[in-house]
Symmetry: C2
């Protein structure tokens, strides 16, 4: 075992990069014991060293010149915690070409350019690790690549966005509507000033692309993943769901369906006894099912300086082990070709529907008849009268093709007894 | 990447060894894609090839001579799925001395002789992997060693025995007493003919010794772990627990307490909203807490041919990667010295107590006064009258030293108003 320390450069000293730096400093003893040598932070690059940080970095380690770290021959590993696909991508590709292993927590980068990045790593005989890109501290990527290596997977379903899970949890617990809870989440720092990526499901879509590629061994074009955000979910829906023993979560769903993959991000009703149903607040979890492993779930903090920083630190140690043992590429990409993604119209799901109708006899029967004619069969129904001569009907439909449902709904929407189809949320069993 | 396949010998072709064999056969394509070469089963040793198995093994691979496989120079990895510490230990030590990496699912062996086995592996420049020894398919050992490498851990709490969790779950759901459910579990194959190891918590103790050693970086003498089984848990206790929003689980608890470790296996009341509370039936889960990782949980099937077989298969692939890359010892043992275990009398816990007392005024006050005098403070109390002039009092006491509680109970037991102290179960918050 060499005494030579492993030297790293950190690009982007924000939440995750800062968390990593703090962990490497405070847990140096644990790391030395696990690795047999030290991890030394040789430099940190950031474009803004004036913004407030709750930890201090020695002046001599600070730089604004990322390329100086990438091209420093004494640095072994580059950590990219900048985010996005602009300079982050350039830096990662440059570092790989310079023969450095790379650790990144950048989900957008890995979702959109993972193939190019992993090929470059293989070509240059170095590693790329990205555990921090999905699920924060949850060891999902290493588990998929190294613990479920011999298991086929049929299904991977994740709550992979803490912001939306926090919002849905508080809406459900406190009966407050989306806009109010979002505003509070922004005040508390749980949601960004521009929350689009989170609440529209874009962040979850990037993460699903990464998970599905590894779980199913095929590259996933992220833009082909069906996506719906949570802005349309109401406390009324959350209440009906609870009455029927469901919760509503924003799920990232990947399923194998013969030679195709179902890939979708949308709010979903989930049975209250499903392992994911109890995942509340900012926590994330990933549920997996396969013929060998059965049902599994990994649960933990999906974001934050120390949780995500600790995932990144573990990746740094993993790369360092490969440098020490000259074993880069020991665990490689296993994607074979492009995933065939099933169009959402052909996906079969169960759905929850809430509609406002005229409160008079025969209405339920008329609508039920149309569903029946279109081959959409009913699992349960609740009808409740409102104050204004209207009634609310809530249906849960058995699993069937989305196109049948859409065709039934287009007839039902035209009925004059139907005032509004308020909500349609898919149900996961 | 070499075309040379990696050749393994399997010792013990029971549930786990058989599951491994089936997985290696059926998932050969997945394994080749991950590893870049094939895993070939070069031989299987068992003392009894006549017992019924639901899969077939080619005659030319069968042997009753384990040493022939261990000493076969064409075999790279020995898998030990015999169990126990008799021949299993001899075979493992012989294989390591012969320069073979070893994969084992044997918790008793690793709990009792892990230090000796891991030292021998290091000495001979080979690997020992034992993911299948705890939690079946749950990737807890790899996660502790490779994903939480840079995280300090304060607490690890597991439901690591499926038999007892199945029994407690059915007792709770169906209101049947322990003996009846145990008998049914035996008929269904969820409990052994001699269930002692499971129901007395011995199996959980072995698993806790393994988990705690890795989580806390210190060798754990398994015989020093405090242990209580589940035979004394009654449906009455399960019902009271539910009334107070708790569940009762057999927990394996490891906690860091300054320079000491608290290590104990016993039934415990767990708040209904704790992530472990929803772990039902034969499922296992391990909950972890630390300053960097926060709260985490890994959940899955803790036993069974395919779940445990898939964990063993992943270990085989991991050893194979180290053989291909000449990187054995890449992840090594990190124990430093012996754990200092806190005596159970000095451990501070909250407890649930159920006692049968005379149903007359002043009884509760008399008992409460004694608790107060001994410094045991009360969190909640329920008193219910029974039919026979007696009453049942159920207390939950605040966290405090066990010795204070024991001293209060020894006074209370002597009161003539107290007919019986029926149950004392620790509470985990």
């Amino acid at each position: 075992m060499p005494d030579q320390p492993i030297r790293i450069g950190i690009l982007g000293v924000g939440v995750v990069g800062g968390g990593l730096y703090q962990i490497l400093e405070s847990n140096a003893g644990e790391i030395r014991r696990a690795l047999g040598t030290d991890i030394v932070v040789a430099g940190l690059a950031d474009i803004d060293w004036d913004r407030p940080r709750d930890f201090s970095v020695p002046e001599e380690l600070k730089t604004t010149d990322a390329l100086a770290l990438i091209n420093n021959p004494n640095i072994d590993i580059i950590v990219e915690t900048i985010g996005g696909t602009g300079v982050a991508k350039d830096y990662v590709m440059t570092a790989l070409a310079a023969g450095k292993s790379v650790v990144t927590s950048n989900k957008e980068l890995m979702a959109k350019h993972g193939e190019q990045i992993l090929s470059a790593a293989a070509q240059h005989g170095v590693d790329v690790q990205f555990e921090g890109s999905v699920g924060g501290v949850i060891p999902i990527i290493r588990s998929l690549k190294e613990s479920l290596t011999a298991s086929r997977l049929d299904e991977i379903v994740g709550i992979v966005n803490g912001t939306t899970n926090y919002i849905l949890t508080r809406m459900s617990q406190e009966g407050k509507e989306f806009a109010e809870v979002l505003a509070e989440a922004q005040r508390l720092g749980y949601a960004e000033a521009d929350p689009t990526d989170d609440i529209e499901g874009i962040d979850s879509t990037n993460k699903l692309a990464i998970l599905a590629a590894i779980a199913f061994g095929a590259r996933v074009p992220v833009e082909q993943i069906y996506r719906e955000g949570i802005a349309a979910v109401t406390t009324t829906d959350l209440d009906y769901a609870r009455q029927m023993d469901y919760v509503i979560k924003l799920l990232a769903i990947g399923k194998r369906d013969n030679d195709q993959l179902e890939l979708r991000v949308h709010p979903a009703l989930l049975p209250a006894d499903h392992p994911l149903a109890a995942v509340s607040g900012v926590f994330n979890a990933i549920f997996i099912r396969g013929p060998e492993c059965g049902e599994m779930m990994l649960y933990g903090r999906g974001a934050g300086a120390l949780p995500t920083g600790s995932a990144v630190a573990a990746d740094v140690i993993d790369c360092a082990r490969n440098i020490i043992h000259n074993s880069a590429g020991r665990v490689s990409c296993t994607c074979e070709g492009q995933a065939q993604i099933k169009p959402i119209e052909e996906v079969e799901t169960s759905v929850y529907l809430r509609m406002r109708v005229a409160d008079r006899p025969g209405v339920l029967g008329t609508i039920a008849t149309i569903f029946g004619q279109e081959g959409v069969s009913m699992q349960s129904v609740i009808q409740e009268s409102a104050q204004d001569n209207s009634a609310e009907i809530v249906w849960i439909m058995h699993k069937g093709p989305e196109k049948n449902l859409q065709s039934a709904l287009s007839c039902i929407r035209d009925l004059n007894i139907v005032q509004d189809i308020c909500s349609m949320i898919r149900v996961v069993e």
